[in-house]
């Protein structure tokens, strides 16, 4: 359990990295999917599937990477199921 909690903390550090550098990432990778691992940018691509391929080639663990679209566009999400 402690190991799992440590993994979640490491994952959240990647989320925080994205949030802290959001403005910079918006300028550098507009409308692209940006991948963060170990608090570093490890890939960016407008196409999500291409980005996964690129990350796999770099041997980035896809289960642990945080991927978010760098966008300043507003999108209305109305979700339920």
């Amino acid at each position: 359990m402690q190991e799992k909690q440590a993994e979640l903390r490491r994952f959240h550090q990647n989320v925080e990295y994205f949030q802290m550098h959001r403005e910079e990432l918006l300028r550098q990778y507009p409308e692209q999917w940006v991948a963060v691992f170990d608090q570093q940018i490890v890939g960016a691509d407008p196409d999500y599937e291409h980005l996964l391929d690129e990350l796999k080639e770099k041997r980035v663990p896809l289960g642990k990477v945080f991927i978010q679209r760098a966008t300043d566009k507003d999108e209305l999400l109305i979700l339920s199921q």
Binding site: L8, F11, V15, V65, E75, S80
Partner: protein, 147 residues
């Protein structure tokens, strides 16, 4: 107490909680996912983008998983698959039947959802004013003496 956070997209901020999924029956590694807190979702849902990460990382054939009940949302109906997982939301962990939106039928850039199958076990506080996204255990909520 489980602590979440607000994540900005455009001018909107949304409440998220990080989760880790383990897949004991698939003998696959774990998948870390930010889950959008969605009190309107009956179940916790793995969205197609996160399902693609799982498939690429572990080689799991999502289409070969058992079919679930179709998911109905504002945008229409989507096929689903199910898989048995152990979900961890620091420091809480439980077995769960996870619903996966079928990536083959609908690739949409929507987040995975934390639904009421998990939320119902907690008292949820979402307060943007103070940046609080909290899931309280029953004894923690009882101590607040809310009406």
């Amino acid at each position: 107490m489980i602590r979440g956070y607000f994540l900005r997209s455009g001018s909107t901020v949304r409440p998220f909680v990080d989760a880790s999924f383990e897949f004991p029956l698939l003998h696959a590694g774990s998948l870390e996912v930010p889950l959008l807190v969605d009190t309107g979702a009956d179940r916790t849902i793995l969205a197609p983008l996160d399902a693609m990460r799982l498939a690429e990382e572990t080689g799991v054939d999502i289409a070969a998983l058992p079919r679930g009940v179709p998911s109905t949302g504002v945008g229409g109906q989507t096929d689903t698959r199910t898989v048995e997982v152990i979900v961890t939301l620091d420091p809480f962990s439980t077995p769960l039947t996870l619903t996966i939106l079928d990536p083959l039928s609908h690739i949409q850039p929507i987040p995975s959802l934390l639904g009421r199958d998990i939320l119902s076990r907690f008292t949820l506080i979402v307060e943007q004013r103070t940046n609080r996204v909290l899931l309280l255990e029953p004894e923690e909520a009882d101590a607040l003496s809310l009406p």
